[in-house]
């Protein structure tokens, strides 16, 4: 056993309900507190004096050793979360499980020596409880989805028969009124069930990335226009003028699930119509800036209390009160927010400065393809598989004519069979000189984008290529920069 020092200084660590140990600059354990004794059934006398990295070999990995070293040398404090490490010091619980620990390592110095103190908090019960809660939440989601689905069929039957009844000529006025109530209540219930189903569908998509909804290119102007039209009869009933002003290109695109996006716009507008004063004007402005569409909807009418406006998109928040004629399910705006968020957008609500109504502001990313002219055939010359995969990932959703080649022979064949609109060339390619020669000899050479992790390589290349336009991109590639270069060259 190696010599120990200063044990007395650390005695206070015996009084804390967490595991604590102290090690010195040679990783020799200088103190082992009573909590660790209880948790591990290992006595202080047996542990103190041993090297931490020998006693617990997994701590010899760089992810631990380097960070301990950093604490000892520069005095930094290190956190080791239970989620990433489960535990640093194995403390068996008896059933094959170990105490999960949230660990902190911090520096401690005496006059002549530097130490590191490891402090381990037992979070086993918290982790287990949170796992139980997650399972309960999953169960609740499944129950909600199944119940909503099962309610739909009997509801449709009730509505169908109510419709038949309402056309029965033998029914007196009182009976007819009663049937109308049945129909209206049934329709409200059906609307609520539909919203619940939609929300649980979105929740399930959020949880399982593999079941993402099908996205396609949508003309945003068209989608908003049709949502306004759908709401026109509702607005007409209250004599509300829907004033739609669009300053965007009619063909501007978003990548969207058209059905869901239409549902979001329609729900948002119908909610606003419910809240707006009769005989008022509702403004819907659509503009584009900084690669985003901005949709602003403002109305004069019911004001959401300032202290509750931040809760307006929560499920059943009931921030928006029912009007005498329209019931609010408490799900609509929550649904709108979920849809907008999975489209990569944001939505917010603010009361207008005159406190006579509210403005909803919504952003959605512009589909970059709509800014790129009709370039369809792109060639990537790159020998590295991960790099080619990166191109696919970055451009997959925007371009379909993306082809790859890895060698000069393959390049020759590609250039013979197809005319490309743009070529991406990896400057670190081992056959770079032969490839440059091949490119310089081919007819109708398109613009070339040189890609490298070294900026100097990119500058050298442009002098070697006989092509009107050479651009450069540094790796790792970033989608925005990539699309910007494409856009510039295509114009």
């Amino acid at each position: 056993m190696n010599g120990t020092t200063n044990v007395g200084v650390f005695r206070a660590l015996d009084f804390i309900p967490s595991g604590a140990l102290v090690f010195d600059q040679s990783f020799i354990i200088q103190f082992w507190n009573t909590t660790f004794e209880n948790w591990t059934q290992e006595n202080r006398e047996d542990v103190v004096g041993q090297c931490l990295l020998d006693k617990f070999p997994h701590l010899g990995k760089r992810i631990y050793r380097d960070r301990f070293q950093e604490t000892l040398e520069i005095g930094s404090k290190a956190i080791f979360s239970s989620q990433m490490h489960k535990y640093l010091i194995p403390c068996p619980l008896g059933d094959g499980k170990f105490r999960q620990q949230e660990c902190y390592v911090y520096p401690f110095s005496t006059e002549d020596q530097s130490f590191a103190v490891m402090h381990a908090e037992d979070v086993t019960s918290v982790v287990e409880r949170s796992s139980q809660l997650r399972n309960l939440s999953k169960l609740k989601d499944r129950f909600l989805a199944a119940t909503s689905h099962d309610l739909r069929s009997p509801l449709n039957i009730i509505l169908g028969f109510a419709d038949i009844l309402s056309r029965d000529k033998n029914l007196d006025q009182e009976g007819r009124d009663d049937v109308t109530i049945i129909r209206h209540s049934g329709e409200s219930l059906l609307e609520m069930v539909d919203d619940l189903l939609e929300l649980s569908k979105l929740q399930s998509q959020k949880k399982h990335s593999k079941t993402q909804p099908k996205m396609q290119k949508c003309k945003i102007a068209e989608t908003i226009h049709s949502s306004v039209q759908v709401n026109q009869p509702l607005a007409d009933k209250k004599n509300i003028h829907l004033d739609l002003q669009m300053t965007i290109n009619a063909n501007a695109l978003v990548l969207a699930n058209k059905l869901d996006l239409t549902k979001a716009f329609t729900t948002l507008i119908s909610n606003a119509v419910i809240l707006a004063n009769p005989n008022s004007k509702m403004k819907i402005g659509v503009s584009e800036r900084s690669q985003h569409f901005f949709i602003m909807l403002s109305y004069n009418g019911q004001v959401i209390p300032d202290d509750r406006i931040s809760h307006v998109f929560e499920m059943y928040s009931r921030v928006i009160m029912d009007s005498p004629t329209e019931k609010n399910t408490g799900l609509g705006l929550s649904l709108v927010k979920s849809i907008i968020q999975y489209h990569g957008g944001q939505i917010s609500a603010n009361n207008r400065s005159n406190h006579e109504g509210t403005t909803f502001t919504l952003t959605l990313p512009v589909l970059a393809e709509s800014q790129i002219t009709q370039a369809k055939h792109f060639l990537v010359i790159d020998p590295t598989p991960s790099s080619r995969q990166n191109f696919s990932l970055l451009l997959e959703s925007t371009l379909h004519g993306l082809e790859f080649c890895t060698s000069q022979d393959e390049l020759e064949k590609k250039l013979e069979t197809k005319r490309f609109d743009l070529i991406f060339l990896d400057v670190d390619h081992p056959q770079l000189q032969q490839i440059i020669e091949k490119l310089n000899h081919s007819k109708n050479l398109p613009p070339i984008v040189a890609c490298s992790s070294n900026v100097n390589d990119l500058n050298n290349l442009s002098s070697q290529l006989v092509v009107a336009s050479v651009s450069a991109l540094t790796k790792p590639l970033v989608k925005e920069e990539l699309l910007k270069v494409i856009q510039t060259l295509m114009q």
Partner: protein, 203 residues
Amino acid sequence: MPEIKISPDQSDALGELVNLGMGKAASVISEMLNEKVSLSAPEIKIIEYSQFQSSIGEFANLISVVQMKFFGPFSGISTIVFPPESATNLVTALMGEDVSSEEIDCMRYNTLNELGNILLNSVVGNLTNMLHERVNFGVPEYLEGETTPTLKRLNLSPTDPCLTARTRFIVRDLEIKGDIILVFTLDSMQTLLKSLDKLLADV
């Protein structure tokens, strides 16, 4: 803020020191992930805090922030800001793609706090170490939420001088962007620049 001028040499040296620190952190993260982590050279700027706030942009409505204070010859706050998609990508890279987004939400706090701790310790530690200074490190704190109120919680004055290092790294084809910001007191910023000059003169 009285104008703090940074010479091209000082900027290069700072970039290199921050880069070295990040490189160290990247190698630890790389071992944690068991994957190669490619790192871009950080873009160094000295700006006022208010300029930094606007540079986060109006579209980063939500941000994840890890902040850690440090005290000594250089006093200030080191902060790393992740846009939401980068934060999710980072947690996904660490936890694997089979983890549901609900579970990722639960893991964000601890995971990002630890990753921020690794990055900030390395960057600040390397910077002070190379300049032969020693600082006391605070405990990292994780904040998450809408950009404006979250940045307000950092309790910084609009004119505080900030050394910003914008970087990005790619893990398993997932692009992760992050802004590392070191906010110094005015005196500390001047001490830092003097120490840098000393380092440059010794080279």
